[in-house]
Amino acid sequence: MAASPADRKYSKEHEWVLVDGEAATIGITDFAQDQLGDVVYVDLPEPGATVTQFEKMGEIESVKAVSDLFTPASGEVTEVNQKVVEKPELVNSDPHGDGWLIKVKLGDAAELDKLLTAGEYDEFASGQGAG
């Protein structure tokens, strides 16, 4: 598996957050999409909803499995990726790019310190491989 992008931070639940000022984009990692297999549905919070770090924010389903989505950062949801809702396979083909899930207005930038760097995450994920 290629190294995770160094421009963002990662949770042990295999989500990433890319911060740009107060705005943060959230998605799942390449490792997570590979473990899930073909994604067929994503269930995401509505714009305006408040999400809390490490708490469940939605569900993602592949042909074989369902998995809870946990947000790596707290905040108010400002945008949901409609392209992913309509074409969930984007999560497989481009998890760190077009396959992003939601954007939030960051509630507490300090909580990002609880997340992993790309290097730390890749080391963590390599110990979790089931394949």
Binding site: G37, Y41, E61, V63
Partner: protein
Amino acid sequence: MSDLQTATLRKTALFDLHERQGGRIVPFAGWAMPVQYRGIVDEHNAVRTGAGVFDVSHMGRLFVAGADAERLLRRAVTYNVAKMREGSGHYALLCNEAGGIIDDPYIYRLDATRFLFVGNASNAERDLELLRALVQPGMDVELLDRQEQTVMLAVQGPAAGGYMARIIGPEVAALPKRACTELPYMQYKLFVSRTGYTGEDGFEIATSPEAGRAIWRQLLAEGVEPCGLGARDTLRLEAALPLWGNDIDETTDPYEAGLGWVVSLDDGADFVGRDALVRLKARGVARKLAHLKAIDRGVIRDHFPVMHDGEAVASVTSGSFSPTLGVSIAMAYLPVALAAEGTELAVDVRGKRVRVVVVPRPFVKSDNKQQTADSKG
């Protein structure tokens, strides 16, 4: 899976090839089997539009041979094998005395005195025991368990015939639907049938590990998609082929499962479970294995409750997202009053209500003339 996790599992003679090909290995019925290579949807679509190959060596393979082979099988299974022509295959059921389904083998008649009995991996040992117990003193019949010594491949999809013709020979591509034959391949002997478990045209091959590995490699080199158990399951579900252990088992009878056509009550064979099945048929079914297609989004999975008027009326026996239809499909035993086509019900998907409608089988109909909708492999 780690080496430690697979250590106690049985491995097919192609296991190292699966690992090298990037197959994701999972435990299945005591075997370490690939669930997917490139991805379930890609593999599924390859079989619907081109060709894919599955290692199905975990299936039971029992040769029944001798002057009394036919007599033994007539006692063991619900379908009258005396009706089978040499070089043909037929679906059959092994029932208990109460008419419950112990296994649903595919039986091939090679010639007058030799049959190949292909049962489910999880039932292979039990099938052998049950058949053995039915052998009467003085009967001329031999039971040869060939699960260890041979491999089995399923080459499936509308393009399968072309690949088989090139790699094995044109006579194979000329086999009619559900026919079987034995032929040489290099220095080995191949059993080939035009059957499968995907709803598409296709072939199943049983042979020595060496020949099986060579054919597997050649098929992949020609561009045939290696497929795992994940796609095998979505394909068979779209074709509405039951899976033993999910949709049928000892608590279900052939009539409610829609398999009455495999029960030969009227031609004299006194098979195990016959008396019970006569009674069950006369009584009529109270529930029926129905085919459900989702109207709403959400993936329906095994064991989810089927709801009607706020009450749970059944449990999903097999449920999955259908890659071909783009919605979920499922099977469940519904009370007969709710099993009519067009009836709308709902499935409880972790607290969310997903509407479904009863549809005719199969969910996906192959347009291929060679479709083998009643076969399994």
